[in-house]
Symmetry: C2
Subunit: 213 residues, 2 copies
């Protein structure tokens, strides 16, 4: 495989899971950063009309989670049997469910934003963090990771899916000790440690939500 090229905005959003996979694999990822201000003009000329895209061997692919899963399979970070892969896939999709509501807290009318924020705090965060925490607890390997005894895409998806919650309300998240322990284990891995040290700027994107870009 040639060095894959990720094209996305300078935010975590739907590109971050792919970046985390490549950092964890200590593999090179070329990145093209698109300026939000230019996107509207660029969009009609793009292949899919949405970002991120990944170019592999001259061909373009899209859908952030499909891209991250491809890169995870390519680098030995997926499950080793079908049920483990199902567990990882459901975690990746739960991360997406969280992100969708988080995005809704910062776009649209003020009323839409408030409604999304209420849903995030009263429903999505409590429900999904409980599921993540339980999944880690119920891993038969009892490794602190969510599937088997080594780090996989599932752990990276929990790390990324809990990141905005952690930035915004770490006291709330500390009520889920398995998540907090997993976050520490993931952040200490070679490759990720160096990547996360570079990704350090906290930017408020809402009165409640903070992001690191």
């Amino acid at each position: 495989m040639s060095v894959p090229k990720l094209t996305y905005f300078a935010i975590r959003g739907r590109g971050e899971l792919a970046r985390l996979v490549m950092a964890a694999a200590r593999k090179q990822l070329d990145e093209v950063t698109v300026d939000f201000a230019c996107w509207e003009e660029m969009q009609p000329g793009t292949t899919f009309g949405v970002l991120p895209t990944l170019e592999v061997n001259g061909k373009e692919y899209f859908q952030g989670n499909a891209i991250a899963t491809y890169l995870a399979r390519e680098n030995g970070l997926y499950g080793s049997n079908n049920l483990d892969c199902l567990m990882i896939d459901q975690i990746v999709q739960l991360k997406e469910d969280i992100l969708t509501v988080e995005i809704n807290t910062v776009v649209g009318s003020d009323q839409d934003k408030m409604s999304a924020l209420k849903k995030l705090v009263s429903d999505v965060y409590p429900r999904t963090m409980k599921i993540f925490n339980r999944f880690i607890h119920e891993n038969p390997a009892n490794s602190g990771f969510v599937v088997g005894d080594k780090m996989t895409l599932g752990d990276l998806a929990i790390f990324e899916g809990t990141q905005s919650c952690f930035n915004s309300d770490s006291v709330f998240l500390s009520g889920f000790p398995n998540i907090m322990a997993l976050r520490e284990k993931v952040a200490a891995q070679d490759g990720l440690k160096e990547y996360l040290a570079r990704r350090k700027t906290l930017v408020p994107i809402h009165s409640f939500l903070y992001t690191d870009i």
Copy 2:
């Protein structure tokens, strides 16, 4: 594997892709149908707080697309190499993007519904149908299917992802001949032919959208 048990509402929604996979594989799928009227009361007592769920060997899993992908892998309906799997995954996620907007046309305030409908007709359908059509056209195997020379989860996801559009405006969809030909090929497969003959009731869920349940 014991017979898997799918729990969901009596709609296509996020359960249908799993049903199509099992019909195509001619495998038994136990189904538990939840009444919408009972859901609010049931919800707090459920494992994940959302449907569908799949029970396999006594353990519950969730997320419709993760479930369908697991069943596809179990039954030889996934890709045969990593890039084919990426192609299939991005199609499954594109189907989800369409469904999300379709759902928004039937829930929320009248203003929200109208806004989603406008987005569906002016952006989502034209853009996504063009992508599906092109993917089928560009399959090097030139099989009429979207990946390789036999039917996979990718074809089932295109079939399902274009179903509401087909029900509602088949004239518009006929502008995408590769999709129409794929829909015919898929619908003619053993197992699916019989399943689709049973799934015949067209129900209007909106002035524009029709569903078969």
